[in-house]
């Protein structure tokens, strides 16, 4: 589904160009569950943003479901983002002034979904995530785990084929984290392609492929078994 060829990203600084990503070549099939690992500032978030088409300023080739993203105008990339991608962030990034229900409704409101359908979809999703009882609460009235649950619900409410999760468990304690990972597993089994970034090896092992990133370079790819074995 995703093909990255020689993707590079640099920032212009006073000292010249600083590369954040170098020669990224990656092939990801539909329905895969990928983990990206690497030290801080390795470029993980940057890579995720490029794949999620929030970032338009990079070089190389990126093909998504047969469409050459690198050749698209920003506006069309955004359209593609809306069609394919759901984002989950470490900081939850819910809208504080909206209720849980309204937070879930926001992505649909940007996607030409009929109002009548929107309510049905939001209720469905609330149900699926077991947060119907929380629908009228504000984010500030929820625990961190509940907030991330809502954030994931918001990421999938528009049925994206691709879920991008940037350290989704970074702000959660372990029980909450495990719940979230189980949820990702279920979503993956239901057909979603998932790319997650994490520092936690236990959670990393939920991915079928683990891609290592270091100083912007791809630093090999291992399986969960290799990761866990190495840890032992």
């Amino acid at each position: 589904m995703i093909t990255l060829k020689n993707v590079e990203k640099s920032y212009k600084t006073k000292a010249g160009f600083t590369y954040v990503l170098r020669q990224i070549n990656l092939e990801i099939g539909e329905g895969e569950f990928i983990t990206i690992m690497g030290p801080s500032a390795a470029g993980k978030s940057t890579l995720l943003n490029i794949v999620g088409m929030l970032d338009h300023d990079w070089e190389g080739e990126y093909t998504l479901d047969g469409q050459a993203v690198h050749a698209l105008k920003p506006k069309d990339r955004q359209a593609l983002n809306r069609q394919y991608v759901g984002f989950v962030f470490q900081a939850f990034n819910l809208l504080d002034s909206l209720t849980v229900y309204e937070n879930l409704d926001v992505p649909l409101s940007y996607r030409n979904v009929k109002t009548s359908q929107r309510a049905a979809i939001v209720c469905d999703t609330l149900d699926r995530f077991g947060i119907v009882g929380k629908k009228d609460l504000y984010p500030s009235q929820l625990s961190g785990g509940q907030q991330q649950l809502v954030a994931i619900a918001r990421a999938v409410v528009a049925s994206p084929k691709l879920i991008l999760a940037d350290e989704p468990t970074g702000n959660l304690h372990s029980t909450q984290g495990r719940e979230i990972m189980k949820l990702f597993k279920r979503l993956n089994e239901e057909g979603a392609t998932i790319i997650q970034v994490t520092h936690n090896e236990e959670y990393a092992a939920y991915g079928r492929r683990i891609i290592q990133l270091k100083d912007g370079w791809m630093d090999g790819e291992i399986t969960p078994d290799q990761l866990l074995g190495k840890a032992r």
Binding site: N49, G52, L54, D55, Q78, N81, R82, G86, F87, F89, Q90, A91, N93, L94, L95, D96, S97, V106, P107, Y110, R111, Y138, P139, S140, R154, A155, A158
Partner: protein, 805 residues
């Protein structure tokens, strides 16, 4: 005291650290305070400062009124005045004077000049309680017909025309070619009620009580009466006594039974026509100040938010709430002080400008200055706006929980934030609302002024010169008349020359009772005399019959030409040509004048541009003489090159001693609506300032809220929002503010514009077109001001906004 000084020092340092912020606030406040102070300096000079006469509260003007219409104040008939003066016990003294200008030509000096005087009763100065600086007041003897020709000079005329000659007393000056002896010079602080360069006695024939001069019949209401009440005499009692005396009169002219007497203070009479206008100006200026204050309050609020950490720190370090609030007020007071000083400077300049611009139609304009009263007002206003603008941040500081602020938790931010926004939004709504009231006022004035300029004149003002020539009446009425007209019409380029008693658009001639033949119904008709070519010179078309000709002289049958309104109102639309028009003088002793109507001319705007045209009758200047001060010349092309040849020709015919002022008819028309022009410019200027402040205000608020919501926009973009959707989000908020502001402003305008009715010409105070146009205009400006921050919002980079450290 020590802590106060510390607060001040700290406040100054804080302000100096944010020079941009401080400058903007001082400018905004200075503008608001400057406008308010400038207007107040005029209000103070005209309305508040007492007239400079001793015991001025006992000085009154005496009027005849129509019972049941207390607003109708009429001047007094001279015989009536004499009865009162001699019989009423309530007054220490009473005097009369002629209202308005008595123009004469001063000669025998280097340059002949037109000077404006007033004719007065010899008692006039002593009633007011003033004595001349040099010389003496008039004696009773000098006030009689045939008395010695004397004059008292104003300080201004004495210094301007005679170089302040200390030996001027008993010297002779020449006014209208007649020598007059100077008996006195008034001090520089004395100002006539109205304007006057000099005073002469009103020549009265004490036996027949018939004053001499045009328009001064015994029955004429020509005297303005000023009296000094005895101490402790109530006005109501004096009014009653005067009425009793008046009704005792049995001789002509009698005091009609449906008439009454009214006293007004001298001051009130002087400012009567200006009070309402000045109140409107002051209200408009205060609106500008309120908009400015709301603006400053908003800026202070925004800044107090960026300073909340500092405030919490101070609280954590043990500063009590009172102390923090005092600090905030110290800062806003310092800003108000600076704004006030700037405002006073702006006002100094603005007040001088206002005084000069309005000198020809507002009284006491030469007294406009920044005195203690004005400065006290400025200080008060500055202090108030300082307090008002410091209020919102102070209330916030009072509500503040230091712990919360230091934690700066993400969760609580949403709730507190929306609460803070509410105050800011309310301030912006108030700004928009106040500006709308100002703008609607301006719109009404503007529309009215435009309509005023489109009034159907009835004549063609293009390429017409008007030459004001004092003393031209004598020339025209004498044998020189036809020669003067002939000489001017033969100048190359001049197409026609004429003269009339009164030129449009000002009130023309005298209104007199007239009848058609022996028909008993009397009609009030404006009467004036014209020369034959007057209608051609003005470009007034003849509708029927013929115009006045050179053959219409004394000895041949008297003829008259009327206007279309005359035909409509007096003749009921029937062709009047050939009918007899009879003038019925007030005094039965004067014989009636009978003339044949020979022509009808098109209506001319003859009641200034503001009033509806009145019936008018034009008589021949050679059948009874003419009283005119101007000649009208129609020029074939651009009239300007003709000014000097025309002046030379007039002076060569009637003598060099006539000062001549020549203007184009267009200038004259513009001059006639100078007050309206002034009102319109002032209100439009104020509303422009209000609009600019409101636009800046909304720009600031929307910008700030965009800055606050960067993270939210980032999230929305990350979950799929298009740029347009983000812009809509921002503009929608602005739209709500605009809607709120318009609702507030329209309500205010509906309530307030009715006071403008008297100033509006052909426009209703609730003119729907103006209300709608102005609302749309203001809404668009405000939305434009929010468009810039909205574009910034749409450019938010989600990666930057959501970067999690």
């Amino acid at each position: 005291m020590g802590t106060l000084w510390q607060d001040i020092r700290y406040g100054l340092r804080t302000l100096a650290r944010n020079p941009g912020f401080t400058t903007v606030i001082v400018l905004v406040l200075g503008l608001g305070i400057g406008v308010t102070t400038a207007v107040f300096s005029v209000v103070s000079a005209v309305l508040l400062r007492p007239l400079p006469f001793p015991n001025v509260d006992r000085l009154v003007m005496v009027w005849e009124t129509e019972k049941g219409r207390p607003g109708s104040l009429e001047a007094i008939m001279l015989p009536q005045f004499l009865d009162w003066r001699d019989q009423c016990p309530d007054f220490e003294a009473m005097a009369f004077f002629e209202w308005g200008a008595w123009e004469e030509t001063l000669t025998g000096v280097e340059e002949p000049a037109r000077v404006v005087g007033a004719r007065i009763d010899p008692q006039f100065f002593s009633v007011l309680g003033v004595v001349p600086l040099l010389g003496r007041p008039f004696t009773a003897e000098e006030g009689r017909e045939g008395g010695p020709p004397v004059v008292i000079l104003s300080h201004g005329m004495w210094t301007r025309r005679f170089g302040g000659d200390p030996e001027i007393i008993d010297k002779t000056i020449v006014l209208n070619q007649k020598p007059r002896t100077v008996v006195g010079v008034m001090g520089s602080d004395f100002r006539h009620i109205g304007t006057a360069d000099f005073w002469m006695p009103f020549p009265m024939n004490i036996d027949s009580v018939a004053p001499v001069g045009p328009g001064a019949g015994r029955g004429a209401h020509g005297a303005y009466v000023v009296g000094r009440l005895k101490p402790n005499v109530a006005r109501a009692r004096a009014e009653a006594d005067l009425e009793v005396i008046a009704k005792r009169r049995t001789q002509y002219p009698v005091f009609e039974p449906d008439r009454g007497v009214r006293l007004t203070s001298l001051h009130e009479h002087l400012v009567r026509d200006s009070r309402r206008l000045l109140c409107v100006f002051q209200a408009a200026a205060l609106l500008v100040l309120l908009v400015a204050t709301a603006n400053v309050a908003n800026l202070m609020l925004v800044r107090s938010e960026t300073r909340s950490r500092e405030m919490s720190l101070r609280a954590a370090l043990g500063a009590g709430r009172a102390r923090i609030i005092r600090q905030l007020f110290t800062e806003s007071s310092l800003l108000a002080l600076m704004g006030g000083s700037l405002g006073a400077l702006l006002a100094l300049w603005g007040a001088a400008g206002l005084g000069k611009a309005a000198a020809s139609f507002l009284p006491r304009m030469e007294e406009v200055n920044l005195d203690w009263r004005v400065l006290a007002f400025t200080s008060l206003v500055s202090l108030m706006s300082g307090l008002l603008s410091g209020l919102a941040p102070a209330v916030r500081a009072m509500r503040m929980d230091p712990n919360e602020c230091l934690k700066e938790g993400g969760a609580v931010r949403g709730l507190v934030g929306s609460h803070r926004n509410a105050t800011r939004h309310m301030l912006v709504i108030a700004e928009i609302g106040l500006s709308l009231v100002l703008l609607i006022g301006a719109g009404l004035f503007l529309k009215s002024f435009v309509l005023l300029n489109q009034v159907r004149l009835g004549f063609d003002p293009k390429n017409v010169l008007v030459a004001q020539v004092p003393g031209v009446s004598e020339a025209l009425s004498g044998p020189q008349g036809p020669e003067l007209l002939e000489r001017l019409s033969s100048l190359p380029g001049v197409q026609a020359v004429g003269a009339a008693t009164a030129l449009p658009p000002r009130h023309s001639g005298t209104q007199m009772d007239m009848t058609i033949g022996e028909d008993p119904v009397e009609h009030l008709v404006c009467r004036q005399e014209v020369t034959p070519d007057y209608f051609r010179a003005m470009g007034v078309p003849l509708v029927r019959g013929r115009a006045i000709t050179e053959q219409d002289v004394e000895g041949s049958p008297h003829v008259v030409v009327v206007n279309e309104t005359f035909v409509k109102r007096v003749c009921g639309g029937v062709d009047p040509i050939g009918k007899e028009l009879v003038i019925h003088p007030d005094n039965p002793a004067i014989p009636r004048r009978r003339s044949i109507i020979v022509g009808v001319v098109r209506d001319v705007a003859n009641q200034t541009l503001l009033g509806a045209t009145e019936p008018e009758a034009y008589y021949s200047y050679r059948q009874g003489g003419i009283y005119a001060d101007s000649l009208v010349l129609r020029i074939g092309s651009d009239p300007w090159p003709m000014v000097i040849p025309v002046r030379d020709a007039i002076q060569e015919t009637i003598g060099k001693d006539h000062p001549i002022a020549i203007e184009t008819m267009r200038e004259r028309l513009a001059g006639s609506i100078l007050p309206q022009r002034f009102q319109t410019i002032i209100i439009v200027l104020f509303s422009a300032i209000g609009l600019a402040l409101a636009a800046v205000g909304i720009y600031g608020v929307i910008s700030y809220s965009v800055a606050q919501r960067v993270r939210e926009f980032g999230i929305r973009i990350a979950v799929g929002a298009q740029r347009a959707a983000i812009m809509r989000l921002v503009v929608r908020r602005a739209l709500w503010l605009v809607a709120g502001g318009l609702a507030l402003g329209l309500t205010g305008a509906v309530a307030l514009t009715r006071v403008l009715r008297t100033f509006l010409f052909a426009v209703a105070p609730l003119d729907a077109v103006t209300f709608a146009t102005v609302s749309i205009f203001l809404g668009s400006v405000v939305l434009l001001a929010s468009y810039l921050p909205a574009r910034r919002a749409a450019k938010v980079d989600p990666m930057v906004a959501l970067r999690y450290e």
